[in-house]
Amino acid sequence: MQVRSRVHKNTLFISLDGELDEYTAEYTRVNLDKAMTVAQSAQIIIDLANLRFMDSTGIGVLIGRYKKMKDKNIPIYIANPSTQAERIFKMTGLYSIMPRRDGGVTYA
């Protein structure tokens, strides 16, 4: 798993590259928090174009980040999920708190 981020205009883009499961969850959690704390932005887009696998452990990680950013009134959006990730998001109702908004930037 690799977590890359870039601020573009008022938006923090974070790209998750790799596989998000129980093994990579803690690393992903810590590095998402790090990226979100450092950057000052009005909104966050988590770009899943390079996420090759995700199971329900990923939902726990994402909801945890949502709760942290909600306190700061910073909305999080999901971009470019795979078909499989999309099914898990719909099944769990994740889009009701993190709506889908496709788009991306070039990451460092």
Binding site: E19, E22, D55, S56, T57, T83, R87, I88, M91
Partner: protein, 161 residues
Amino acid sequence: MPNQSKGAKTMKETKREIMNSMRLELDAVSSNESFARTAVAAFAGQLDPTVDQINDLKTAISEAVTNCVVHSSTKSVLIEAKLWRESKKQGISVTVTDFGIGIANIDKALEPFYTTKPDQERSGMGFTVMQSFMDSLAVCNGVDCGTVVEMTKVFGTNRGA
């Protein structure tokens, strides 16, 4: 403690011709999850499933192994898979077995969003994802003697028939 079991009992093994089988026992550590789901997916590849079917299978295996690693206190996980065919279809049956503490309440465990570890950012959606991504799911369980999750995925027409 009597054994509990829950889920669709639709297995018709007697009618099914087993074409191939595998057994894989591995340490119950999260670093093995990727290996476990990839190994089962590669085995299933012999039946020429679609990419979506393979991804469904990988996700379900990952959920089952996560349960063993996170909840069961088992030292090892046993994965057994069989490729089968019957008159008009073929598919894979997989059991994921642990030797841990068992599930205290299966009905609760199968409920969406139910988790025994609410303080750990867990979604409680593992069994729901397995049920949704596979064609059948059954859970057999005895407190203090482990849990067996049995799942089936149908891949479609039996091309050899």
